[in-house]
């Protein structure tokens, strides 16, 4: 029935720090082809770590010790380092959080955008240039030639994020990791960028792993969602179901802590001590089980 493999399938992903403590605790999740899957949690929950493990750019102190990551059915572990890099480079792309630090301030936009296409995918320069121009039009940039010749500081925050979105979609990746792509933006610009990502994602049939801390953004952009706490999957659900009937007390607590202008009378509730105790117990049980299994 379900013949197409998941676009991204992560199972039992575990990563540890040098002191042995786990930053990712047997994380499993699936991103179906062409869907937006949100990865939501508070700071330190390990959401960005998952994206980094996939792209093979974990910080030097963090070591992946267990678990498998499969991209369209291909297990990354079965590949050599070079083949893995080629596959990641051809099939995935990243939209980073902060467009200013992601762009080199001393190079023009055009060459920075085409690097991926010419260096990693080996496109001829002419083809890469045309593709960049095409993509800039797709992200509604009216004067592509001006932007191609500009330096990052000459563009606004929203424009820079458009440039990075265009660059991410340029090589037609199957999966894009979007790491808090609208967190640094103003709310009206955020809405435009979310819409842009949703439109392009639909038109190109690209799956997106959308990392965010904002349940509002989750509700608006994703079709399914994984809630993380302390590197552990707390809840996984289709997005409508998560908001209609959140299963885990932590998910409900996060929702109660999020202010809504439509409901000002509700007193904001921080995640309560009972919920935190329950989470601590779950983390401990998971860790004990893991230790038993690994001597």
């Amino acid at each position: 029935m379900n013949a197409r493999p998941s676009c991204l399938s992560i199972s039992g992903l575990t990563a540890i720090l040098p002191n042995g403590s786990r930053v990712l605790r047997s994380v499993s999740l699936d991103v179906k082809p062409g869907e937006v899957h949100a990865l939501v949690g508070e700071s330190g929950a390990g959401k960005s770590m998952i994206g980094k493990a996939l792209l093979g750019v974990l910080p030097p102190s963090v070591r992946q010790v267990e678990g498998s990551i499969a991209l369209e059915g291909t297990e990354l572990e079965t590949l050599g380092a070079a083949a893995r890099r080629r596959l990641i480079g051809a099939r995935t792309a990243l939209i980073p959080q902060d467009p200013l630090t992601a762009l080199n301030p001393s190079r023009r936009i055009g060459p920075q955008m085409s690097d991926r296409l010419t260096h990693i995918l080996g496109w001829p320069a002419e083809r890469a240039r045309n593709r960049i121009r095409e993509m800039l039009a797709e992200v509604h940039i009216r004067e592509p030639d001006r932007v191609i010749a500009a330096y990052p500081h000459e563009l606004s925050g929203g424009m820079r994020q458009r440039v990075l979105i265009a660059a991410a979609f340029a090589a037609e990746p199957r999966l894009i990791v979007a790491d808090e792509p609208t967190t640094a933006l103003d709310v009206t610009v955020q809405k435009q960028i979310l819409r842009l990502i949703a439109d392009l994602q639909r038109q190109h049939g690209t799956a997106i792993l959308f990392v965010t801390h904002d349940l509002g953004v989750v509700a608006k952009i994703s079709q399914s969602v994984t809630v993380l706490y302390a590197g552990m999957v707390v809840e996984r659900a289709p997005t409508p179901a998560l908001f209609a009937t959140p299963q885990h007390a932590y998910t409900r607590a996060l929702m109660a802590a999020t202010p809504r202008y439509t409901d000002p009378a509700s007193s904001l509730q921080p995640v309560g001590s009972a919920v935190l105790a329950e989470l601590a117990l779950e983390v401990q049980n998971a860790d004990n089980e893991w230790k038993r299994a690994h001597g």
Binding site: E42, S43, G157, D186, V187, T188, V189, Q190, K191, L194, R195, A198, H213, D214, L215, G216, V217, V218, A219, K220, I221, T239, P240, F243, A244, A253, L254, M255, A257, T258, P259, R260, Y261, T262, P264, S267, L268, Q269, P270, V271
Partner: protein, 270 residues
Amino acid sequence: MADPLFTVRGLKVSLPDMTRKPLLGSAPMLDILHGLDLAIERNCITGIVGESGSGKSTFGRALVRLLEPSAGSIAFDGREIAHLPETELKPLRRDLQMIFQDPMSSLNPRRTIGAIIAAPMRHHGLSDRIGERVAAALTRVGLPEDFASRYRHQLSGGQRQRVGIARALALEPKFVLADEIVSGLDVSTQAQILTLLDQLASEMGLTIAFISHDLSVIRRLCRNTIVMRAGRIVEAGPTEALFAAPREDYTRELIAAIPLPEIDDDWLTR
């Protein structure tokens, strides 16, 4: 509003535009605020909302006179302060306190929390019973007294922001400027800090200007709201009325752009 704490008339602020500064010579001036007229009510929280570049932080800094306006007047508690020299401002500084966005950069890493909270008290001549005063300030924001001997790096983000609040309130100021003080925090911590601020404001009868880009937070916390854009006031008034019936398109646009945590299929295309 009768007897506001601040009455601002024709407030203009210009700052040197460093991006257009010639190699030699001074930078041309750039107008940031284009003549603001407004009043800030006593004993309540007033929200100031706007996008980046709206001038909301510049306006806040002019209110507490970290910046000198280029034109206009600022009457604080009946006294004109727009162009007071620093020597005359000094006694007033006690009544004009600030809580900063990032406690990591506004708390000295080399000093204990106790020393950080005590510093403004000593500066304003309150050197007696300083230990007691610090303990009271910590208790007020819900931190244990023994935090006085800790350092910044030993605290969580929420605890650090509580220290920032404790320091600002230790002098029992007439006015507190809170500039994006919850924007770096997780929602759970944000809920704690907002609840604390709300409770302190009503207990102590504080007048607070709460600068934020988040209208949901403003709606929850502030009695009055000022919407700013490009150095001008778009609209200002009681928060409830402003949300119930925004007069300006820009305010409506800002409100409509907030992604609420609920399913709404055509929100993106509206």
